[in-house]
Symmetry: C2
Subunit: 331 residues, 2 copies
């Protein structure tokens, strides 16, 4: 595997303090590399950055329409949300519509990232439920597909029809046979692919017209749903939400654990995938912002951009201590 290259740097006192290396690919609608950094063949786990791929069978199978899912729910199925009230209420209602409850989820519970909801739980002496898990929207989607496929309750098992459908869609849109899978934080299998494969998949989403076959329509709908409901995809203050808003919803972007980021640019019919090899989130956020700025999709001076790229760092008393910037040769 080729070496990753410097992408994002933290400077302090006029001196480089830390560096994030990574691989990145910009792909066109034919699946060809437009430009790349590091090694396009590097094998990665997309983690949550591929939730829109995992949700393809939900839409393509007709399950989403059969259950009358709204675009807001479709966006939530692609989300790594922060467990704010708007997210947990939407998941709870969705489960109720299926005649199911929190106990039917298989994602596990964790403290929500949303401060208001976290504090509410602490004050009420309540434990977080599985709805608070950042992946609970994806899992509500899995449960909806599972109802359609009449599978057994343990829908996260790798040989379950829900996950096999996700695997098939994944291999088709990446254009690669996955070399294997890992178990994700939410217990679902996460299939590996190359950075190129992930970018190729995102370029296909970008090129979807909404007038073609079931896959084309599913891809088109998901991209628009994410852009239309950015607050459902992550939450207030988060990179995906703020940067999609900064781009007027015309570009869909999604983060994944261990510093993966993708972007779908329908107007340019381009897909982007990147992985910061140390797994550092600030590196992935800075790098995707840099690539979106390079492609003219994101205003470098927008406050949402400047939180992550050419981002002044302040300490607890509000004094400037340094900044986060793109490395000299990137992008």
């Amino acid at each position: 595997m080729g070496a990753p290259v410097p992408m994002i740097e933290l400077w302090r006192g006029g001196r480089l303090e830390s560096t994030h290396l990574g691989h990145a690919v910009i792909c066109d609608e034919a699946g060809e590399i437009v430009e790349s950094w590091g090694d396009p063949t590097a094998i990665i786990y997309p983690r949550s950055s591929c939730k829109m791929i995992q949700a393809l069978p939900l839409l393509e199978s007709g399950a989403a329409d059969a259950h009358g899912l709204t675009d807001r729910q479709v966006a939530l199925a692609c989300a790594s949300h922060q467990g704010a009230a708007i997210h947990t209420e939407a998941v709870t209602r969705w489960l109720a519509d299926l005649g199911l409850s929190d106990d039917d989820l298989r994602c596990g519970a964790h403290e929500p990232y949303d401060t208001a909801e976290r504090n509410r739980l602490i004050r009420a002496d309540e434990k977080p439920c599985q709805c608070h898990n950042n992946c609970s929207g994806k899992h509500a989607g899995f449960l909806t597909l599972n109802r359609h496929l009449k599978g057994h309750a343990d829908y996260v098992e790798v040989d379950h029809p829900v996950q096999q459908a996700a695997k098939q869609a994944f291999e088709e849109v990446t254009g690669e046979t996955s070399p294997g899978y890992g178990i994700d934080g939410c217990s679902a299998p996460n299939f590996a692919t190359s950075v190129h494969g992930l970018a190729r998949a995102m370029a296909r989403f970008a090129a979807a017209t909404g007038t073609g076959d079931a896959r084309d329509r599913a891809m088109h709908r998901m991209t628009r749903a994410m852009g239309q409901y950015p607050e459902m995809v992550a939450g207030e203050g988060r990179a995906c939400t703020e940067l999609m808003r900064a781009m007027g919803g015309r570009v869909a972007i999604k983060t994944g654990a261990e510093a993966v980021f993708i972007a779908i640019l329908p107007e340019q019919k381009r897909g982007i995938a990147l992985k910061i090899t140390d797994g550092g989130t600030r590196g992935a956020e800075g790098a995707i912002a840099a690539l979106l700025v390079k492609l003219g999709a994101l205003d470098p001076d927008h406050p949402a951009t400047k939180k992550r790229l050419n981002a002044i760092q302040k300490n607890w008393r509000g004094f400037e201590t340094g900044d986060i910037r793109a490395a000299a040769a990137f992008p």
Copy 2:
């Protein structure tokens, strides 16, 4: 500057997912390199890993003795604590003994890392105070020295006698003229040095006998105080506290922001300094554990070790997803 080398890896599903690169040096009492990885001349900010250096003037000047500081307070002066009750109570009492209060600190306030204290604040609808800042023990030490030196109130300014004393001690023990400084999260200046310089300083701490000059006695006392009160240096669950306990207090270790870690090994008269170049804490914790195991100071099978090295990773439902391990060629 030479390239950093792979030190710590995250594996998932039998596949490498993320890698932390770094520089590390093991130094002997003469200041010579015993072994190194990456570039020993790499310039780094030690951040909080050099708090025992910053506290040297407090002890050497006689200020600590004049104010009757206990070894527990000396450990707290070297700490990045998590703002638990034992830490905030100790700092508050220390300030009161000086006739000072929280308002005299210049470290800024942040939410404590200690869950119990964090939850108490949320339930009581209280804001964190500067005592909760992980550096408040160091700042109580600065204020004590400042009383002795009769300096002005803004003791974090780089030309203040307190910081100039810290700078002089820093350059003397690292054996290098610092190329400059950055402003730390707690507003104090943090002087840069090479990884070798930081390891050399720690070897000097390790070689201190407690029977020599004021510096020798100060170094000896701080190393023992940290080993004797590991809970004051960080807190329950934290790497510094747990690993020092696992080594029976015979080795002092200290983390710094952006993935710096040092170790002081008196029995071997060795000092260690390392920097993970991406700033990832899990990398620094794994790497210091690996070096301490290599030197025979830390049991590789101790639970505190196995939380950070050859550490099984579990997801929200308790399923194993992978592990954190040392890279094949490290150490």
